[in-house]
């Protein structure tokens, strides 16, 4: 009997083969989206928080995937490669938002607390809101490592494949991030 990971890999291989045939390219890409779109959405959403922003970043991510799938060599897991593109797009978005924040006069509107309050798709209680505020204070890479480990329960090896950082470095990043978040949550 095949394990779910093996089944996953076989599915990915079949999708990649179909993507290389021009007549089945669109159908294969649809299959790829069906399989991964939700996971990519939530990965991006946890980083950029708001739904509308997530939607934009996800669209950019998928356009990049579509354009770059031919160059995917298959030496990494497909999911790792997709995650890497989504992570890069989300970080690019965060950097842009930070830049706008620093030049914008209307800081109240850009404040995460106010945005969470106004976001109809955020259902969290006060502690969840505070957790999001704490995550917002983390440097982008620490934030990514924390999200992948804390929410996605990813192994350090899998995170290392996505981010291209050593496992030791990732452990240190996660440790620092968790400490900072803990301090933020427990302070008055």
């Amino acid at each position: 009997m095949q394990s779910s990971t093996q089944k996953d890999i076989l599915e990915d291989e079949a999708i990649l083969k179909m993507l290389n045939i021009p007549s089945s390219r669109d159908r294969a890409f649809r299959l790829l989206l069906q399989k991964y779109q939700e996971r990519l959405y939530w990965h991006i959403r946890r980083i950029v928080i708001e739904h509308e922003d997530t939607n934009d970043v996800l669209q950019n991510t998928c356009i990049r995937i579509y354009k770059g799938i031919k160059s995917f060599k298959g030496n990494a897991r497909l999911y790792t490669w997709l995650y890497r593109i989504a992570s890069n797009e989300a970080i690019t978005f965060l950097k842009k938002r930070k830049k706008i924040k620093s030049t914008s006069i209307d800081n109240e509107e850009n404040n995460l607390e106010n945005r969470l309050h106004a976001d109809v798709y955020f259902e969290g209680d006060e502690i969840q809101k505070k957790l999001q505020l704490a995550l917002d204070t983390l440097p982008e890479k620490q934030r990514l490592v924390f999200d992948m480990r804390y929410y996605d329960a990813m192994s350090y090896q899998a995170i290392s494949d996505v981010l291209g950082t050593s496992v030791g470095g990732l452990k240190a990043s996660y440790h620092h991030a968790a400490k900072k978040v803990e301090a933020f949550l427990t302070q008055e």
């Binding site: 990971t5 669109d26 890409f29 649809r30 989206l33 069906q34 779109q37 939700e38 959405y41 939530w42 959403r45 946890r46 928080i49 739904h51 996800l58 669209q59 998928c62 356009i63 579509y66 897991r77 999911y79 798709y121 955020f122 259902e123 969290g124 209680d125 502690i127 969840q128 957790l131 999001q132 480990r149 804390y150 929410y151 996605d152 329960a153 990813m154 192994s155 350090y156 899998a158 996660y174 440790h175 968790a178 400490k179 978040v181 803990e182 949550l185 427990t186």
Partner: protein, 178 residues
């Protein structure tokens, strides 16, 4: 790819006990109802739109290649722009006025350099080129036509102008006649 949840919880409990206590799998973030039902269609539509935009821009890039025909077309288009036309018209008008102005300035300067004797000599030599009326008006005045001349006296006007009137012309009048 995924790690045992217990391992992750144990690790977190050691680093950040409070955080481990509140750890939940979800972020309490929600997606709009039915969002994932149409997501792949929306994304594929976006990709197609992006491709079309790229095709269009690559076609227009081809049209913008630096071939001589494209250069001529670009120049023609540029010349047909109203702002360019108005600009050229303004330059033309200013040029015409400056040519006229500089010509009048230069002829005045030449006349100023001519002495009274030289002017008189010039008139003597080219008397046929001057209008009699103008000479009479300049010397006698505009009412020269009212001067009564006896029928018995035959006046050779050319001779009169040549012999007598020219000598009466002062430099100002000569300048006027020229």
């Amino acid at each position: 790819m995924r790690e045992n949840q217990d391992n992750i919880h144990k690790e977190l409990k050691e680093i950040a006990p409070f955080l481990a206590q509140i750890r939940q799998k979800e972020t309490k973030l929600e997606a709009p109802n039915g969002y994932f039902n149409h997501l792949e269609d929306n994304i594929l539509a976006c990709i197609k739109a992006e491709e079309e935009t790229q095709n269009w821009s690559s076609t227009s890039l081809k049209a913008n290649e630096a071939t001589p025909q494209n250069w001529l077309l670009a120049i023609k288009k540029w010349l047909l722009r109203p702002s360019v036309g108005i600009g050229f018209a303004m330059i033309l008008i200013v040029s015409i006025f400056s040519i006229i102005w500089s010509n009048s300035q230069s002829s005045d300067a030449i006349l100023m350099a001519v002495s009274e004797i030289e002017a008189t000599e010039y008139i003597h030599e080219n008397i046929d080129q001057f209008s009699e009326t103008l000479i009479l008006e300049s010397v006698i005045g505009e009412d020269w036509t009212t001067i009564e001349i006896s029928d018995e006296i035959e006046i050779d006007f050319d001779k009169y102008i040549e012999d007598d009137l020219i000598d009466e012309l002062d430099s100002e009048l000569i300048n006027e006649l020229l």
